[in-house]
């Protein structure tokens, strides 16, 4: 019995030691899934300047992240793809200071490279048996897509053509890249260099401008870095527009 107690204590000790390395500060960044690539590069650049600090990420839909934070998840930074999810945290009194718009994006219509359903414009999405994929209600890309489609008389027919509601925008992109879905409306920045041989993007001249909000939930330097000139340059390299 004695050895098993020692073993349990050892395991607990190991677990707590992975939790907090005493000589490294950890900043937990909860960021919208569309920020995955750009924020990873931002973290590398930030850590180069702050060798004593480590950025850890949680990428998911902004709505899921907001729900996790409201349920008590420890986050130091929240970067949301829309205003509503940030407001939820502001109303709950979780935001330190104010939130800032740090980037904007554009909406694009994407199809698989071979475009099996021959989609050229938003109107084509209304054609019968088109496999249109989007995200679950509440996820920012779904809200932006709804706002955009509301301008079209074919709105109902297009909504009828939804074959799946994915958890976040990156899953939506994946379904089109795999060729399972015929089309989706996503952010221009989601069509990264890795995907250009699998996906065709059609620019939309849409009045809907996705705006990204960032806020510190605990004092930290990463939020300032995202808003700095160096941070903005990295975001623009990944296709985001200045706020």
């Amino acid at each position: 019995m004695r050895p098993s107690l020692h073993l349990l204590l050892l395991i607990l000790l190991l677990l707590t030691s992975c939790q907090s390395e005493p000589d490294k500060n950890e900043i937990a960044v909860f960021a919208a899934s569309s920020l995955t690539d750009s924020f990873n590069e931002l973290a590398t650049a930030f850590e180069a300047n702050h060798t004593d600090t480590e950025i850890v990420f949680n990428f998911a839909s902004s709505s899921q992240l907001a729900a996790q934070i409201l349920e008590g998840a420890r986050a130091d930074v929240f970067a949301s793809a829309n205003e509503q999810q940030m407001q939820l945290l502001e109303e709950a009194g979780l935001v330190e200071g104010t939130s800032h718009i740090f980037a904007t994006n554009r909406l694009v219509l994407i199809t698989p490279e071979d475009n099996p359903a021959d989609i050229q414009q938003v109107h084509d999405l209304a054609r019968a048996n088109t496999r249109f994929v989007t995200a679950v209600r509440g996820v920012p890309i779904r809200e932006y897509t709804e706002t955009l489609l509301a301008e079209y008389t074919e709105y109902d027919a297009i909504i009828e053509n939804i074959v799946s509601e994915e958890a976040n925008v990156r899953q939506v992109v994946l379904k089109v890249a795999l060729g399972e879905a015929d089309a989706a409306i996503v952010y221009a920045t989601d069509v990264t260099a890795d995907l250009t041989d699998q996906i065709r993007a059609i620019q939309l001249d849409a009045p809907t401008i996705p705006r990204y909000h960032i806020a510190s939930l605990n004092a930290n330097a990463f939020t300032d870095f995202v808003l700095s000139d160096e941070g903005q340059a990295i975001l623009q390299k990944w296709g985001f527009d200045a706020p």
């Binding site: 899921q64 099996p116 679950v136 939804i162 074959v163 994915e166 958890a167 060729g179």
Partner: protein, 257 residues
């Protein structure tokens, strides 16, 4: 003393999540603010798809389990693979096989069948992950029947079919039922392969586990409520299958004497 402490920790650890779900649902009167329509659609879809899956598993799995029980083979290792496979890998594999660009899916598409995003895809995912649980339990049930019993029947003039029908099945049915229950529970809880391969749409592919995940951030109460139903089903399945396997063992022992 120490053993008691460790035992208590282990038991508490397993009970707490279910208890927390129950606590939150009571505290927030979850059932009052739940979107009943989505829960109903998911419940119906889950029951419907898992029923079809069980039917197919029974038809395909029983002969397989019987063959493996009488003639042990390396195939049993292959059959058990989905048990240890991460669900995301299972989903990806199904996409590569049955997706529109998949090895078989490409061919299916030519005859006008497209599986992803369909209810059929939900069933395929369930069968893939659940059939090993049935085959494994059924095989153990078949193996537990003493060869002497079957030999005695053969000596008395029964052919292979008659032996199966009058000796094997009556002794093994509880094991088959226990296997069905475990496989059904696994099919009902299937999530990872489904969301990757079948997608998520209310009434079409959104089973109960997918509903829990999809509405978590928008309607926590509906998620908790759906989760509680699944906890209840899990409890029921565990109790029933324990009873079935213990009585199956008793039955075989009795027949052996």
């Amino acid at each position: 003393m120490l053993r008691n402490v460790l035992t208590t920790i282990a038991v508490t650890f397993i009970i707490i999540p279910a208890a927390a779900l129950l606590w939150r649902s009571v505290e927030q009167n979850a059932w009052q603010s739940t979107s009943v329509e989505a829960v109903q659609a998911a419940l119906f879809l889950s029951l419907f798809t898992s029923f079809i899956s069980m039917l197919i598993i029974l038809i395909l799995g029983t002969p397989l389990a019987y063959s493996l029980a009488t003639r042990p083979s390396w195939i049993s290792a292959v059959i058990e693979m989905p048990i240890v496979l991460p669900p995301a890998v299972a989903g990806l594999g199904l996409l590569m096989a049955f997706g529109r660009r998949g090895i078989l899916g490409r061919w299916l598409l030519e005859i006008g069948v497209s599986l992803p995003f369909s209810t059929a895809a939900v069933v395929i995912a369930q069968i893939f992950v659940a059939i090993p649980f049935f085959v494994r339990t059924a095989q153990v049930g078949f193996e537990a029947i003493p060869v002497t019993l079957k030999e005695a029947a053969t000596v008395d003039g029964a052919n292979a079919n008659a032996v199966f029908r009058y000796v094997t099945l009556p002794l093994a049915w509880r094991a088959l039922l226990a296997g069905m229950l475990i496989a059904w529970a696994r099919a009902l809880g299937e999530f990872g392969a489904t969301i990757l391969f079948a997608g998520n749409l209310q009434g079409e592919t959104q089973t109960m586990p997918l509903l829990v995940f999809a509405i978590l951030e928008r309607d926590l109460n509906a998620a908790i409520w759906t989760a509680l139903i699944l906890v209840g089903v899990a409890m029921l399945v565990v109790i029933l299958s324990r009873w079935l396997t213990s009585s199956a063992r008793a039955l075989v022992l009795e027949a052996d004497q």
